[in-house]
Amino acid sequence: MAAAGPLLDSFWQSLLTLVFFYAFMGLTWNLMMSAGLLSLGHGLFLGLGAYATAVFTATGGLSPWISILIGAAISAVAGSAIAWIGGRFSVRGVQFALLTIAFAELARVLFDNWDFVGSTGGFFLKAINPDTNRPLLTLRGGTLFFYLAFVLITAGAYFLIRALMASRWGYRWRGINEDEDAARALGVPALRSKVLVVAISAGLAGVGGGLFGFLQGSLFPDSIMGLRISIEVLIAPIIGGVGSLFGPIVGAFFVVPLMEGSNVLGQRMGFYGLNTMIYGAVILGVIAFLPDGIWPRIVRFVAARRS
């Protein structure tokens, strides 16, 4: 698929860039779910990464590579803090999800009122000159650059998460998800395990945010750390299959073209709101008929055909 990149025209490159952005974010969101931690505030980690990367590069004059690492670190620290508070005070389940919303909304309001990063007016990156730009130095470029960049980080995140899930930490996260008290009675350090999984998830989301900010060229708190994007990033993994490693990627390939396609259809027909109706109906249908998601169903189907 990635090798076909240069052969695709820029429409498909842009669409697949979005597919891989949501696949990547879905992978990071799903990682937290492996420990039973429902994040409804992933926009916070995305947004912190995006703002830090953009501000340290544009205002601070740092290399975007350094800035993106700083962004990831800031997101990871924010994630660790939320996980620590949640773990220390036994905030579990839905209450933990509310905690993530609270922090994400708090940050959004702060950024809305923080003049240094442009407040509600937004933070804008200077346009680049495509003739002199060197994408590997600026981490910015045309549609092909961003397409390849998101394919690469998605592949990287996939293999990293696969390795983590096969390690002792992966077992611990699944144990906590199954029964936290039983896991602790067997010596699973619940607090440390949770802080670690959220830190990794948030740090990765920060990297995705940094690149996404460069892709957008402008950052607004409402769109990059608001509730809407926090919800958008969890639709692909839910549709693809929560808890399955490959699910978020499959889900993104389903959800993003559906979102874009229904947008185009709605505009062509001049029917405002048709896009969300189609989108909502299809998502509802998938959740009703494939509650485990698409990917686990495909795996079962293939396994049944083989045997």
Binding site: A166, S167, R168, Y171, R172, R174, G175, N177, E178, D179, D181, A182, A183, R184, A185, L186, G187, V188, P189, A190, L191
Partner: protein, 240 residues
């Protein structure tokens, strides 16, 4: 003394579930905690294993004070408990469940799997190693609970009614396993209602009643103790 419990007290609002309970468990000893329902046995376990914080009193293991430590910190010091109402991780396989215990000592996944397999063999669940824990029958779930605790390689094992609901052949098997474990150097504190098991297995018996220690002694002495017969065993009790 391996385990020292001193003046352990737990009050839930007004209700005192455990009051001033003190006892010791020596290394390689098998001690049974008995008493009628509601006597405070499981609360005692929860206090010792760190699932509950005592209102007052202390617990120490090999001279180290455990009071106030988190359950996982206590487990990592070699004091591991099973739950009376078994808590299998239903979405994981039997092997994965037992590996969760092995990870207390071992960080390498392959080594943890081999330690877990040994514990599964010992318990006799090897045919079901790849089954989901959620698909097991209740006796198998009890066996899994035991295997998981053994895989942590504890120095002191707390067993909360592992034999309740089992057929006598199954509980005989567990009695054998517990004796083997003791032979290997493990110390065991168990809550048990099956008096036949208590009498044959325990070196010493502690009787709780209304949250207080009523008696303590060798199984035979406990069986003939008038206070114990009155409050727990019943007047016509016959002991095997």
């Amino acid at each position: 003394m391996m385990l020292q419990v001193r003046d352990l007290t737990k009050a839930f609002r007004g209700l005192v579930a455990v009051r001033d309970v003190s006892f010791d468990v020596a290394e390689r000893e098998i001690v049974a905690l008995i008493g009628p329902n509601g006597a405070g046995k499981t609360t005692c376990f929860n206090l010792i294993a760190g699932a509950l914080r005592p209102t007052s009193g202390s617990v120490s293991l090999n001279g180290e004070n455990l009071t106030g430590l988190a359950p996982e910190q206590i487990a990592l010091r070699g004091l591991v408990r099973t739950f009376q109402i078994v808590r299998p991780m239903v979405g994981l396989t039997v092997l994965e469940n037992v590996m969760m215990g092995a990870f207390a000592r071992i960080s390498n996944v392959n080594e943890a799997a081999s330690v877990a397999k040994q514990a599964i063999m010992r318990i006799g669940l090897q045919d079901k190693a790849d089954a989901l824990a959620g698909d097991l029958t209740l006796p198998d779930r009890k066996m899994l609970e035991l295997a998981r605790a053994i895989a942590t390689e504890p120095r002191l094992l707390l067993l909360d009614e592992v034999m309740a609901g089992l057929r006598s052949s199954e509980s005989d098997r567990i009695v054998e396993i517990i004796q083997e474990l003791r032979g290997g150097g493990m110390t065991v504190l168990l809550i048990e209602h099956v008096m036949r098991v208590v009498m044959s297995l325990a070196d010493r018996v502690i009787v709780l009643h209304h949250g207080e220690k009523l008696a303590e002694g060798a199984p035979a002495d406990i069986g003939s103790n008038p206070k114990v017969i009155e409050s727990y065993l019943g007047k016509k009790a016959t002991l095997a």
